[in-house]
């Protein structure tokens, strides 16, 4: 099958009886209906614990449903608030001038 995101071919792997498709291009993983629950159950059995609450965040979270102006996408390692259109970051007020002159110009 082809990756729904980048259209590269996907390969199927078996993990403890669960079929997982991974894209050769973007490394995205496709799970069929019920597969995530199966994996979660297996993980809980392995750890001898209750199943943890799903789901883990994606590496590149999709923007939330538009509310006026959609938030820009950001990498997972981005600043906790700065990259998601929220408050925080260093681009407001005094810090904005400082970071602009200080960082946005130097080699």
């Amino acid at each position: 099958m082809q990756c729904p995101k980048c259209h590269a071919p996907m390969h199927t792997y078996n993990r403890n009886g669960v079929q997982i498709e991974q894209c050769n291009g973007c490394r995205g993983i496709f799970l069929d209906y019920g597969e995530l629950e199966s994996l979660t159950r297996l993980e809980a059995q392995w750890g001898g614990q209750q199943a943890p609450p799903p789901p883990a965040p994606q590496a590149y979270p999709a923007p939330p449903a538009p509310q006026g102006y959609p938030a820009a996408q950001a990498p997972a390692w981005g600043a906790p608030h700065g990259g998601h259109g929220g408050h925080g970051g260093h681009y407001g007020g005094h810090s904005r001038h400082k970071s602009f002159g200080h960082m946005l110009f130097s080699s």
Partner: protein, 325 residues
Amino acid sequence: MTAAFLPALTAKASAAAHPNPHPNPRPDTPCDCATPVLTARPDATVIRHGTIVAKAHAPDTPPTDLTARLQTAAHPTLATTLLPPLHLTPTELQGRPVTLWPYGTPVDRDDPDAAPWEAAATLLARLHTVPPPTTLPHPLPPMRGPAKAAHAVARLHAAGPHPAAPPVLRAWAALPPWARAETPPPGPHLLCHGDFHLGQLVRTPEGHWRLIDVDDLGTGNPAWDLARPAAWYACGLLAPDEWTRFLDTYRGAGGAAVPADGADPWPALDVPARALTVQTAALAITKSVAADRPLDEIEQALVDACDRMSRMPPRPAELAPETTK
């Protein structure tokens, strides 16, 4: 640099700025035009004299590389993208190559609201759509972005131990070899600026924005040219609306570094943005050590980002193929 270097560089700029009978009535006395020093680093000395800018490049600059870069900047295909030099080859001054350029007005560092994000994005998109092998007369060396990042990390090593250095070095170690200038980058090699930031834009007397500084120009992964704004945005140093303006304009102008169809740009930007964050953090620590001062909040934000990225490798490891459908 000797004490006589700046006067000699000034004389070169002055001769270019005043080619006809000098306005000074006594040609044996120095010209009285002001000659501000725009940059004074070991690898670059830049002065302005009237309408002319003279740049003395690093002494170890390979002459053939610099000539190929100058001729690219002078090529008609790039007339609306790169500021053209006055001459197609460098001259030499006390062992350093020197190039001459028309003066252009830089971006105002004190006015973030006036930053020309759209112009920057359009120029980069234009640069990235030039097919280098067929259009340009001289083969260009690789774009020097990864080499500059590696150089910054080497400087961090040389600066000695620092409490903020380990997360930066961990983030560097997690990058793929091409981003550390160890192997050529994968994918298509397009014409790239190699060191884009807002100081690399000037406005001509006619009011057109152009890219300057061809020292790192070459072929490579064009996402590197978007990586500095991307890194500032990811580190919380550039507001989301400014980043979005830049990225949307780049895409609208047909820029090749990210998918054009609105798909997530971060798979393409991730590695270069990480590398630029590491590079900037490494230089910030190096400078703080040299000045014997603590990191400021902006510099700490870069180190914090390195710490987060070192715990999230650039690309998930490929699953081991147990079975294949």
